[in-house]
């Protein structure tokens, strides 16, 4: 605790680690995968149009 109070290097290091852990917790808690394929979403293209035409 003493080292934290007067040591800027440790404070910055601790804050950096806290931010990393915080972002990790946020990602895992909300189910966000940092890596992975982002779905193509709603933007239609040829394949999407075909599949939706069949669906309708």
């Amino acid at each position: 605790v003493k080292q934290f109070k007067k040591n800027g290097a440790v404070v910055i290091y601790g804050a950096t680690c806290a931010v990393i852990v915080g972002l990790f917790v946020l990602a895992d808690f909300t189910g966000y995968a940092v890596f992975g394929e982002t779905p193509f979403g709603e933007k239609p293209d040829a394949q999407h149009t075909i599949i939706m035409r069949f669906h309708k």
């Binding site: 440790v10 290091y13 852990v21 895992d28 909300t30 966000y32």
Partner: protein
Amino acid sequence: VAAIKCPSCKALLEPDETIGTETIVCTNCRSLIGIAKDRTQLLGHLSTDPTQTSLDSPLKIGTIGFVRGKHLRVTGIIKRSDGAYDWHEIALADDTNAVTWIWVDRGHFSVCVCEGKNCVSVDGTRDYKFQSQTLRLYDRAKANVVAAAGQFPFTVDIDRNSEFMDYIAPPYCASHEDGMWWVFEYVPTSEIETAFGISCNKPDGVGINQPSRYQQGRFAAGMVTIISILVLMVIHVALGSRSSENALIDGTVDLHDPQNTPPESFGPFTLDMPKSALEIEVSSPLDNAWTDLTLALVDQATTKTYWTSQGVEFYSGIDSDGPWTQGSRYQTALIRSIPAGRYMLLAHGETGTWNNGQPPQSAAVRIYLRSAPISNFLLALGLIITTGAIYVGLMYRYEAKRWSDSLYSPYVKRDS
């Protein structure tokens, strides 16, 4: 001792009997005068060349301050040099008129905490120790006096070119000279400025005995690293339990006549979390053929569609090097950021063959919930380790800078 006259210029001098002055510097002619039993003796003349004799000391004669529990008064200043490198040794008298020293090296201050033959001990491995700290040789050199002012309770010999050795164990520097040890403890400039009410120039570089904040904080940094990794593991295991090995979708896509077959639908299934990562697994028992599945997740409430494609291909044969295979009958992909909702999966396939392959008749599709993918954990772990490596690198760089002026640097390989 009453006022005396300088034997050289006859200027009036006032030795301070409370500190037992044995050497006084004439402020008029820069003569060095020895005093013993009310008798004076001309010890020598300091150079009058101002480029050499300029004391440029941050503390002046008569300055008063309160340093580490002691009221101190500057009584004498000596400037010594080893070639182009010089430093100040400042004598200060405390309340009991005992004289202590402050050493100023390139703007870095250190106060003497031990003076004597036994300040430093030698352990069984022949290492020098001060208060259980192992001292390392930093410098071995000869120094002479180039300028002085004030008065001293000993005889100052300006012709002497004495050899000294400096050993360091921050915040301490133990200097060995004439069989005596002087151990100095580093004092931050801000503390000196507060103690003496002065303003100092910023110290140059890293002081040879300046404590490293990286070294001082290494235990805390190590604890932070361990705790961070433990938190990552606990969170990953706890939130990872929301992932399931039970497939949300486990279906088979008919590939007999994909051109004329409408998309097959599977589900529905529900995603509860704000964002979900899904692992999509596609497999097909094919050989010398490929299939590519277009997969669409349709939110039943909003009809928003999220689609992707995933394929497998597998080829085999025999050539002059023997049998070979290429590709895989099984593929997985992580799809991220699917919002909460109730979804149907639509799947439609395309197929093709190579050489004498047969088109695949079906492909299996499975979708798993991966709420806390291992890649998140590995990324966070990598960032923590990288941050720790940067800390260690900064600690190394600080020490390398400290030792950059030393011939005995453990950070520089020298040819023997």
